[in-house]
Amino acid sequence: MSDHWVAVLSGGLSHEREVSLRSGRRLSAALRSAGLVVEEWDADAQLLTRLREHRPDAVVVALHGGEGENGSVQTVLEMLDVPFVGTDSRACRRAWDKPTAKAELARAGLSTPDWAVLPHATFRELGAQPVLDAMVDKLGLPLMLKPDQGGSALGAQVVREAAELPAAMVGCLAYGDTVLAERYVEGVEVAVAVVDGPDGPRALPPVEIVPESGVYDYTARYTAGLTDFHAPARLDEKAAQAVGELAVAAHRLLGLRDVSRTDAVVAPDGTVYFLEVNVSPGLTETSLLPMAVEAAGQSLGEIYAGLVERAVNR
């Protein structure tokens, strides 16, 4: 049992504040059950004062979206020399920007659905319809539209008909200035958590996601019962190994640290496609990482207490 005291950061001002608060509460309870002393802090104007005055042994970032995942909070922690669980600021920036992460993995020879990244300004200046037409010509339909940064599927939408595109673009661009359009790959949707240990990063059992509506959107993610899960995923041995290797490769290539979650899809031909990676995976009652931890026969408190220990000794 560790006797470290840690500050769990949750909340913040991103669109995912609600989810983050839930993650923070769950993680705090898990860490307390592992014997740590825990305080839950919001990422607000008091944060720096608190960090300086209280100097926790480590900070665990349970912020989702925005400042908590784009490297900003991590930069502050680094400037103050406060140990923290999670990826450093530079790698956060790479992983947070979905197109950057996809490009990096594609360069390394991993499969990821074809994509296009376009800011609103391009549509405005070149005319929306010709650009949308070119997008459909290049990527085909259906398409997955999502903000180029952000999580919890906020603003994400599967577009099956070209006529739906303008409305979907408006919905997506309400969350940010740039849209990531991706060829939609049908297949088995999985999430693979990766946790660093003494022998390097290891993949936890993949979790298969089967949303009732067919789309794993915000409602399907956070309404218990609207999605079925299989942990471990119903994949043959080869595919299960492939998704694990993909997640570990993403973790390594992007320079991620401690914990990450890679979302992927296994196509009917067996190809494993990287979709995106998350440096601060959700830890709520309906989140995927806790399911993977359970499938691995471990507890959330045990995993994160180990990561705190690593952070303190780093």
Binding site: H120, L154, V210, Y218, A224, F229
Partner: protein, 438 residues
């Protein structure tokens, strides 16, 4: 796919083992992207024009705390004990004095104290509505009422309003259409004064006509009047109940005139209805909180509550003025709004093509929150509208919030100029603010 009533697929793990047990009425009770966004609205960086929270800073907290302590010291054994399901008699008498200001001549025996008027609304819907029954309500209407109607699986048919409130001819037309469809209207739900969210007031000359139409068609009137004493010109309009005691159920509240957190409201109902309400209330809560009732009663007897209402009115008038001035200064062409003479809300129509629900994430990014219009309709309308609540922020914050909102609308307009007007993106789950912002 797992539907209620179906077992999960072989080997699948459902995070809700009770999924098959839920009543059909829970179908819409799902997580909502829009609702989650309101978590950010509680942060001080965000100017929240979303919530209808009263300006409690205007209350005399020091003298109130002394009275509250004295309630425990002198009446503790009563205050902390179960009470009557109908509410304590002294408070019911005081409630009758308050309603007299709106021309209501009521007997305390016909008053049922409730846990906020929201509970009254729930009780009224419970005793009158079977699944599929029709409730008529102004369009738009109070989001909490629509929630109650939905919970009892009643169908809401909206009736149009104009600057003078509910339009009698539209009411006749709506009744005719429902009757022709072979459906049954159980009651008209109306907020005649300083409407939530529309901000309009039912013209006095229309009141008798509305009552007469309902009488002719055998339709009960449920009059929800939380804002009636908060008119900025000092005029208190005659309640519908004042002229039709046999066909109007009146809902009142201390939430807007005293303290929302105490959750004390009431229903004034014809005798037979009142009997049913008491039994329904008993099964829901046994009794309204005795302590809270005694606090309200003590406040009414020891404080200048009419003077307090004047203080509230002045504060809300100042905030209304700030909101209207800022709207005039900042809103882009194509936006329209009303200037309410009381209450908490301005109803804003944004330029054509904009969907205020889809725009909300952009607003949150720019640190301003509002309630999008679709939550105030049961039929999907309202995508071009939003509600501005001016009751809680300071005038300075209201001006800043409206300025930010105008910028959000201008950005959204630019987006629509790029992509053209579009059909709103369907988003499942409740679209409305959570209770702390409703």
């Amino acid at each position: 796919m797992n539907l209620p009533g179906q077992p999960p697929k072989q080997g699948a793990r459902s995070l809700d083992p009770h999924l098959r047990r839920y009543a059909a009425r829970t179908a819409g009770m799902t997580a909502s992207e829009i609702r989650a966004l309101f978590a950010v609205a509680s942060r001080p960086e965000v100017v929240s024009l979303a919530g209808g929270m009263p300006h409690l800073a205007a209350l005399p907290l020091e003298s109130l705390s002394a009275e509250v302590a004295d309630v425990v010291a002198t009446d503790g054994l009563v205050a902390l004990q179960y009470g009557s399901a109908q509410g304590i008699p002294e408070l019911r008498e005081q409630i009758c004095d308050i309603m007299a200001l709106e021309g209501i001549n009521a007997h305390p025996d016909d008053v049922v104290v409730t846990v906020g008027s929201q509970m009254g609304l729930d009780m009224v819907t419970r005793i009158f509505c079977d699944p599929g029954d029709v409730v008529l309500a102004e369009g738009p209407s109070y989001v909490g009422a629509l929630g109650s109607f939905s919970a009892y699986q009643a169908n809401v048919v909206h009736v149009a309003m104009d600057a003078d409130g509910l339009v009698p001819e539209a009411l006749r037309e709506a009744i005719r259409a429902v009757e022709q469809a072979g459906q049954r209207v159980k009651f008209l739900y109306t907020i005649p004064n300083f409407h939530n969210p529309a901000g309009v007031t039912l013209a006095v000359e229309r009141r008798a006509e509305v009552l007469e139409i309902c009488r002719q068609h055998g339709i009960l009137v449920v009059e929800d009047n939380p804002y009636g004493l908060l008119g900025f010109d000092g005029v208190t309009y005659p309640a519908l109940r004042s002229t039709d005691p046999d066909n109007v159920v009146y809902l009142g509240s201390f939430s807007k005139t005293f303290a929302a957190g105490l959750r004390v409201g009431w229903v004034l109902a014809p005798h037979a209805v009142r009997e049913k309400l008491v039994l329904a209330a008993e099964s829901a809560t046994l009794c309204p909180p005795t302590f809270n009732q005694l606090v309200v009663s003590r406040y009414l007897s020891t404080h200048d509550w009419k003077g307090q209402i004047k203080i509230y009115r002045e504060a809300y008038r100042e905030r209304r003025d700030a909101a209207i001035e800022a709207l005039e200064q900042h809103m882009p062409l194509g936006s329209t709004w009303n200037k309410p003479n009381g209450g908490f809300y301005v109803w804003l129509t944004v330029p054509e093509g904009i969907d205020t629900k889809a725009m909300l994430p952009r607003a949150i990014t720019q640190r301003v929150a509002y309630a999008s219009g679709t939550g105030f309709y049961a039929d999907g309308l309202g995508s071009r509208q939003l509600r501005i609540s001016y009751c809680y922020p300071t005038p300075e914050r209201i001006r800043e919030g409206v300025r930010r909102l105008a910028n959000v609308i201008k950005d959204e307009l630019e987006l629509h100029e790029t992509f053209g007007p579009s059909t709103p993106r369907p988003v499942s789950g409740p679209q409305t603010p959570s209770p702390d912002t409703a």
